[in-house]
Subunit: 306 residues, 2 copies
């Protein structure tokens, strides 16, 4: 199935207690596309970069099946740039620099060939842009997944609530689920959020895994405990990419398959954090993915005789 992904393609500078990476490739759409590319080669990307973005990076994505007709290149401007420094726990972080650059003018226009896409991944962006993308679709997609963050709840809650009515799956973290719903209990929060639109809520808890809520059903996918995390940047986007990539491949949006997709997202994210930027994510084999899927299965499987 065709997969449309919208979000940033950017540069990051990252500092962790264990190392530094200066102006490396980042951006939600980049991580999403690379992760999804292990499941499907029918990916349509919508984003914007400056003239400073390496042509070779774009060529590599095209070779993975990512269509870049929807990528606007503004030659006389610079790409979006984010710089951050992680605390010792490798979870909380300080933003050091945010240079919007081309992103300030991002007003995505979907190419004709994109408008019948069936699986839509709206990366974390202004809710108004996410709405505009949905408005440009010609036919009702099979599944719309939206990622967002607390910032948009603070400054654009009305728009966010508007786009949520058109979304099937929302991915946010536990604090954001509490903020969006006004409820501390995630069970109650999930009920309220499902009433806002999304029939699936995925609560991402980083090293504590991810929870899926759907009606009264709950599924839990752990995060794989890793001996070494080099850089958590992009883990959430990689999760989203693996998730929707698997769904686009299998074309089944039922609860059981959504569970499988969450495991595949978790598998991809577990590789993402083992290296800076896309260093690990670019060089996986199908065997790597199968092996780690098996590790996830073993980690949660139990059998209690009745």
């Amino acid at each position: 199935m065709s997969l449309l992904t919208v979000g940033t393609v950017a540069f990051d500078s990252i500092e962790t207690p264990y190392g530094k990476a200066e102006k490396v490739i980042g951006g939600a759409c980049t991580y999403i596309s690379w992760a999804a590319s292990y499941f499907t080669d029918n990916i349509k990307l919508v984003s914007i970069v400056g003239g400073d973005f390496p042509a070779d990076e774009l060529r590599q994505m095209e070779q993975r099946g990512v269509n870049l007709e929807g990528l606007k290149i503004v030659n006389d401007k610079k790409s979006f740039y984010w710089s951050g420094k992680y605390h010792d726990n490798m979870i909380s972080r300080d933003t050091l620099v945010t240079e919007l650059n081309v992103l300030a003018d991002f007003d995505p226009v979907l190419p004709e060939a994109y408008r019948d896409s069936e699986y839509i991944m709206l990366g974390n962006l202004t809710p108004a842009i996410q709405i505009s993308v949905l408005d440009q679709l010609r036919s009702k997609p099979k599944l719309v997944v939206l990622d967002t963050m607390n910032f948009w709840m603070d400054v654009a809650m009305d728009d966010l609530k508007k786009v949520l009515t058109r979304v099937d799956v929302l991915t946010i973290n536990d604090e954001e689920a509490r903020q969006l719903s006004g409820e501390y209990s995630l069970v109650k929060a999930a009920e309220i959020i499902q009433n806002m639109g999304p029939r699936y809520l995925i609560v991402k808890k980083g090293e504590h895994g991810a929870l899926l809520f759907h009606k009264s059903q709950i599924f839990f996918a752990p995060a794989l405990p890793l001996a070494f995390v080099e850089d958590p940047t992009g883990a959430g986007d990689t999760f989203a990419g693996g998730f929707i990539g698997y769904l686009a491949k299998t074309d089944d949006t039922g609860f059981e398959n959504i569970k499988r997709a969450i495991i595949m997202g978790s598998v991809m994210a577990s590789y993402c954090v083992e290296a800076f930027s896309l260093d690990k994510l670019k060089s996986l084999s199908q065997n790597d993915i199968a092996e780690r899927t098996d590790a996830f299965r073993k980690m949660v499987h139990f059998d209690i005789p009745g």
Copy 2:
């Protein structure tokens, strides 16, 4: 199999954002015994209380198969008393009052009939007391489980390390695992802690579940997301009680059965937190336990075709 449990039997006063309970029944050994009593009626309790502890509470425990020959009652003194107030997240809490009372003189003497116990649950206490209990055993037990906390790492690390060499299973939380090992990564921490003695490490993460480490194997048991948590006090002890109770019943200390025991501990803990004190834990049916075990199974089960 015979189960020996050592720890506090006490009073708690608890305040949460949702309610208050004044001088209710608490204590690690109380929670452990009640939780274990759903799996075995051969429980030997070692603890100390004052003359103020209600005889009816003791009678109820005896009716559940808890032998109280090892409970010292000091008539002219008061029982251990703890008072605490939970923050809005229902996880972090402030201790308001700690009155050691009889606990200050606790020097457990094991009755003759206790000294051949096969499953040993050492609740959170001074490591010196935990050592003294092990010293009084006549035969090598089948499994020794030890619970401890950061306080003992701060004030009695040498004794703690001594007792750890004689322990099969250690249960601590993630911060304590990091403190004990000096490693942030739980995978590395688990390796170091296993080298200190325990062949199984259980890392309790509260609402984020529990991780089991054994050699290079990892098992993850989620916590059940609950619509309402009334009082988290005793959840860790209830977990431990369900865990060792199930092991004493099934008499199998292999990895697969330890996994099952962790699920049973999680099931019991999920009930514990739904009410103050032992209010919920005292009135469960085997059907309640089976139902929730099934909820845990459903929550993590997935099947990905190869």
